[in-house]
């Protein structure tokens, strides 16, 4: 019980220092904390004696991501939702479809609505950095997920849940070495996404041969993706491997290889039903799985633990969810989980 008191005191203190009176649900706090008179700050502990976070389990966490609600992100969302259901809290999912401006606005909206914790994917750290700092300054705990392993610390986020993209790329590079590829095309499905760039950088770091990096068209234009990969292959006869840094690109690479009449080593990133069948059929050799279900699930759990118990996970280091690999050896077991929508 004494422990809980301390927690309550600390929580109240942070709230006061941050001068934020956001949460409508914790009805007792606003009276004092929202008061503009800052000279009363020192008296705050006494007045907030009554406040205990456990009074209300009615937490709301915001997941502000650059999600396009595609194959990958729907699993993250599923993880976050499952965690929220298990913990009995509210989870608000704000996808921005790779639009940094919308994401900025979503963070602002979350802050304005007095969120109890924000999970944010830093696909575009330049745009989102100030907003994340503002949220933290407003006393809202933030965890970055998926993208942002390099920035979360300086921004003051609790931790980062995801795989560091470079490490994942490194893993892919080693796989290609083992397969015996000579020159690999790193095919990107988005332009200017730092995570995808890092995957290709990671590939370059460990891969013994040469790497060509190219944007091959968005996922919303599948035919263009096939033909652009084929064009790159035809333009350079030395390319004998393709790393699709997303699940769809890897599947498109199979058809592009057929079209260009080339035998390729193909690796992918993340998981989709098509990709699993392609691995099963032996057309794709491996995929780097960042187990994104964990990114949604753990973020919500960590935010919850921070809100209720002030736990900070990670100790200043990111919590890695990957890379795991799906190859022909384990594709069968994974396929069942994919069907269930959790891998």
């Amino acid at each position: 019980m004494i422990k809980m008191r301390w927690v309550a005191l600390l929580a109240a203190l942070t709230l006061v220092v941050a001068a934020c009176g956001g949460d409508d649900d914790t009805t007792d706090t606003p009276e004092t904390t929202a008061a503009p008179d800052t000279t009363q700050g020192t008296q705050a502990p006494a007045t907030t004696e009554a406040v205990t976070p456990t009074q209300s389990m009615d937490y709301t966490f915001h997941m502000v991501t650059h999600s396009d609600d595609g194959v990958f992100w729907s699993v993250v969302k599923r993880g976050a939702q499952d965690a929220a259901d298990a913990l009995g809290v509210e989870m608000v999912w704000s996808p921005s479809s790779n639009d940094p401006e919308k994401q900025v606005q979503d963070v602002q909206a979350a802050v304005a609505s007095g969120s109890d914790g924000i999970g944010v994917s830093l696909a575009n750290p330049e745009a989102l950095g100030p907003e994340v700092e503002a949220a933290i300054a407003a006393g809202i705990p933030v965890i970055t997920l998926n993208s942002g392993s390099n920035q979360f610390k300086e921004l003051g986020a609790i931790t980062h849940v995801g795989q560091t993209e470079v490490v994942a790329g490194n893993g892919a590079g080693e796989r290609f070495n083992a397969l015996g590829a000579g020159k690999v095309l790193c095919a990107q499905q988005e332009q200017g996404n730092i995570g995808l760039e890092e995957r290709c950088q990671g590939l370059e770091e460990t891969f013994n041969g040469e790497v060509v990096t190219q944007f091959v068209g968005l996922d919303s234009e599948p035919e263009a993706q096939i033909n652009t990969i084929a064009a790159a292959l035809q333009a350079d006869a030395d390319i004998d491997g393709v790393l699709g840094v997303g699940p769809n690109v890897a599947v498109r690479a199979v058809e592009a290889g057929n079209q260009a009449g080339r035998d390729l080593f193909i690796g992918g990133f993340d998981i989709s039903g098509d990709l699993i069948s392609a691995i099963d059929a032996g057309n794709v050799h491996f995929t780097v799985d960042q187990q994104q279900y964990l990114q949604g699930y753990l973020t919500v759990v960590f935010l919850f633990l921070n809100a209720t118990n002030l736990n900070t996970v990670g100790g200043g280091l990111p919590v890695l969810t990957g890379p795991g690999f799906v190859t022909t050896d384990n594709v069968g077991e994974v396929a069942a989980l994919v069907e269930a929508g959790t891998r």
Binding site: D68, D69, G70, V71, S74, Q188, Q191, Q214, F215, V216, G217, L218, D219, S220, E221, P222, E223, A224, I226, N227, T228, I229, A230, A231, A232, Q234, A235, D236, N248, N258, Q259, A260, G261, R262, S272, G273, D274, G341
Partner: protein, 637 residues
């Protein structure tokens, strides 16, 4: 032709109206800007990439152009009718997804497992319904279609995601081939034709010979047709040619075709030169023979050669540029591939300097020729100079080039261009320009030039569809033509025909050009516009179905955001954003331009980061060219 000519006040001609022949009229078609653009982009990427100009390359960007093009044509029709449809992109994904959802026998949709024979018509009706709703909303509310269809766009986008999550709990629906009658329908929407299966190496003397002969016949017909359209017929046009004309014609034809065949069959430097020269002389002789038989000789006063004044200066600058460019091309190290700046290698810089100087020089010369209307001799000299320069540069390239692409193909084209220019020069000084309509000559000329264009297109098709065993060894690519390409071409043709020839086409132009006026004279404006919206959603249905059959699965975001590329393609192809003007064929060309610019970048091995910069520049150029062409269309009378 009307037989009963009313008492027209004896050609009380407005002196401001100059004669505007079929050729001038052709040059003001909305597609012209797009065609020039497509040609330039093709040549550009052809010269920087080894694969771009091959069948594998062409097949690649044709495939990309197909979906884009089918949509761009429909969107162009709607734009001509004065409206936009921002839901068209999302609609492709929606219809594709719907057809897969309907045939799936799992998921919450309750194992509907419909056969495709039922699912495809249902999807089509759905598409028609969405088009009808779009059109009716726009007409009933009077709101801008931009807003209304933006609403539909979001509705569709949300529905795609929501329903796919609801029914299959995933954002991608897979398994179109589960349908019981898939094997039948795949022939209609997913058929492929593999070119590599069709080898006729020595049929009719080989592909290149057939191509060369067809191309030459086509080109000859085009030249004859254009001469008939622009020169004055002799009064005794039906009579036999004089001995001199007949002799020139005969010798010219034999020499021309002989040279051509020789050129296509050999690859040595000396052989090429000989072949080209024989062909050039033959062609010029033949054309001279033909025209001295058919047309009135030049009757005006010629005026002397005067190289002074502004035109003289222009000519000097042009020649200077050509010489400088050629020297640069010869002197700069062609084997140096060091990277100089962002994109350029030394080699690339050389190509750009060389090409740029020569092209600009020739254009300046031709411009100077065009301006010297008062002195036909000047015009002759300048045009001929331009032609000879092209020939000279061709020989330089031929001697310098390391690859067969430049040595044989490019050289042949440059020789053809040179011959054409010199012929124009000779014909224009030797024969009278026609300045009035001449019904039989116009009809004959149009017929001949159109057949020429058809034969020429056949030649190109020959080259594309006919694989030689050497090519198959060289490229490992399996060239598969999808049935969607057929749909693209057919749709482009049908849409063009509808626009130009039918009542509906006329009304489309009218409701986009001046809705009030067309309503006033009884055009059902609302119905026409609604039908146009339905054309767009129908095209979305076709594209969505084609994608579903190709990928066997459709992701919820397929097509989202593509609507802007459809509009861009239509605009690049000469369609006016404000409506009332444009062409369906132009939109198809616009789609081809977009596809070539997107696909050219990986073919050239460039950094894809520059992709949108490139597209932006093309868009700006296209819009400016179109503006210029349209300006001329409205002014020139």
């Amino acid at each position: 032709m009307s037989t009963e000519t009313p008492t027209v006040p004896a050609v009380q001609a407005d002196e401001r109206l100059a004669y505007r022949g079929p050729i001038q009229r052709l040059l003001t078609r909305p597609e012209i800007g797009g065609l020039i653009g497509a040609g330039s982009i093709w040549i550009f990427f052809w010269s920087v990439s080894d694969v771009f100009g091959t069948t594998a390359g062409i097949n690649n960007y044709l495939d990309v152009a197909t979906s884009l093009g089918i949509m761009a044509i429909a969107v162009a029709l709607l734009m001509i009718g004065g409206e936009f449809d921002l839901s068209s992109g999302a609609m492709t994904g929606a219809t594709g997804m719907l057809v897969v959802l309907l045939v799936k026998d799992t998921g919450e949709l309750g194992g509907l497992g419909l056969p495709l024979t039922v699912a495809i018509p249902i999807t089509f009706l759905f598409a028609m319904g969405v088009g009808w709703i779009n059109g009716t909303l726009v007409e009933k509310t009077g709101l801008p279609s931009f807003i209304v269809t933006l609403g539909t766009f979001f509705v569709l986008r949300g529905a795609k995601l929501g329903f796919s999550k609801l029914f299959v709990d995933k954002v991608i629906v897979e398994g179109l081939d589960d349908a019981p009658d898939y094997d039948f329908w795949v022939n209609i929407f997913g058929a492929v034709w593999i070119r590599n299966d069709h080898l006729w190496d020595s049929f009719l003397g080989g592909r290149d010979l057939v191509f060369g002969v067809l191309a030459a016949i086509g080109a000859t017909a085009i030249v004859v047709g254009f001469m008939e359209l622009s020169l004055v017929r002799r009064t005794e046009a039906g009579s036999m040619p004089s001995v001199r004309s007949a002799f020139a014609l005969l010798i010219g034809l034999v020499a021309g075709f002989g040279g051509l065949i020789y050129l296509t069959q050999t690859d040595g430097v000396a052989d090429n030169w000989t072949g080209a020269l024989v062909m050039a002389v033959g062609a010029i002789l033949a054309i001279y023979g033909y025209s001295s038989w058919r047309f009135e000789p030049f009757s005006g006063s010629s005026g002397g050669v005067s190289m002074g004044g502004q035109n003289g200066r222009r000519a000097l600058i042009g020649i200077g540029l050509i010489v400088v460019g050629t020297l640069l091309g010869v002197v700069m190290d062609s084997s140096n591939t060091d990277v100089l700046g962002l994109l350029l290698t030394v080699q690339g810089l050389r190509a750009i300097l060389f090409g740029g100087c020569v092209i600009v020089g020739v254009l300046i010369l031709l411009g100077a020729a065009q301006r010297s209307d008062t002195s036909p001799v000047n015009r002759f000299v300048l045009t001929a100079l331009a032609g000879l320069s092209v020939a000279g540069v061709g020989f330089v390239i031929q001697a310098e080039a390391a690859s067969r692409k430049y040595r044989a193909e490019f050289f042949a084209w440059m020789m053809a261009a040179a011959v054409l220019l010199v012929t124009i020069a000779i014909v224009r000084i030797s024969f009278d320009q026609r300045r009035h309509a001449d019904e039989p000559a116009d009809r004959f000329g149009t017929l001949v030039s159109i057949s020429g264009i058809v034969v020429f297109l056949m030649a190109i098709a020959t080259k594309l569809l006919w694989a030689t065993s050497i090519e198959l060894v060289e490229s490992r690519a399996i060239i598969t033509y999808r049935i969607s390409i057929l749909y693209f071409f057919v749709f482009a043709g049908v849409a063009t025909w509808i626009l130009m020839r039918t009542k509906f086409g006329s009304w489309t132009f009218a409701v986009g050009g001046n809705k009030g006026a067309s309503r006033q004279v009884g055009v059902p404006a609302a119905r026409t516009k609604t039908q146009l919206f339905m054309v767009v959603s129908g095209a979305s249905w076709l594209v969505g179905t084609l994608i579903a059959f190709r990928l066997n699965s459709v992701q919820a975001n397929v097509g989202d955001g593509q609507e802007f590329f459809y509009i861009i393609a239509a605009v690049v192809g000469g369609n006016l954003l404000t409506g009332g003007y444009g062409s369906a064929a132009g939109a198809a060309i616009g789609a081809l331009i977009m596809a070539m610019s997107f696909q050219g970048i990986p073919f050239a091995g460039w950094n894809s980061d520059w992709r949108f910069l490139f597209v932006g520049v093309i868009l700006l150029l296209a819009v400016m060219v179109n503006n210029y062409v349209r300006g001329r269309a409205e002014k020139s009378t």
